[in-house]
Symmetry: C2
Subunit: 107 residues, 2 copies
């Protein structure tokens, strides 16, 4: 017990849930917002930007990277992170699709 029963659901449902879960933390929302707004690959000032410890931010970045929402490349001695446009649009389409399934209001 205690482990999510992904076997009961479709791949699309699991994928949607995975994306939503990754966006389900304010630090990760803050990270993607920051990357969106500066609209560039940055050698992260994220530790300054958010108030969390470096190890914690690294962990959040890893999760965002794992799901493909951001990508990081080595830039000398630091890292350069930015949003992966392709995946970002894919996530947007999946979530938009979910919201658009609900058409008429019944009550």
């Amino acid at each position: 017990m205690g482990v999510t029963r992904t076997d009961l659901f479709t791949e699309q449902q699991n994928e949607l849930a995975k994306i939503a879960r990754i966006l389900g933390h304010p630090a990760r929302i803050a990270i993607v917002q920051h990357l969106s707004r500066i609209n560039a690959c940055i050698n992260s000032d994220l530790v300054q930007e958010l108030g969390l410890a470096q190890a914690t931010i690294s962990q959040h970045l890893k999760e965002l990277k794992n799901v493909g929402i951001i990508q990081g490349t080595v830039e000398g001695s630091s890292m350069s992170y930015c949003i992966n446009a392709t995946k970002w649009n894919e996530c947007k389409d999946l979530l938009t699709g979910l919201f658009d399934e609900y058409k008429n209001e019944c009550c």
Copy 2:
């Protein structure tokens, strides 16, 4: 340690994260999809629909209700659940807003 530092983030970021987190489980995705598709308030056949135990589904319904995405009314001896159109659109707008913040692709 181990508790999300909501104090570090804006209300909007926390709200966005809360919505995403609730949608971050395949059972809850399946529930809102089902409610969307039948487009009606139902005396839930959800236990039949999904393969989870009744207690588990009840718990997921409670979380969706807590965040306001669905609403339930007593219908005789059973419950009638449906999507809350207002909140649903609010969630859609918030998430769309997040995705639309990212405009230009930098790499």
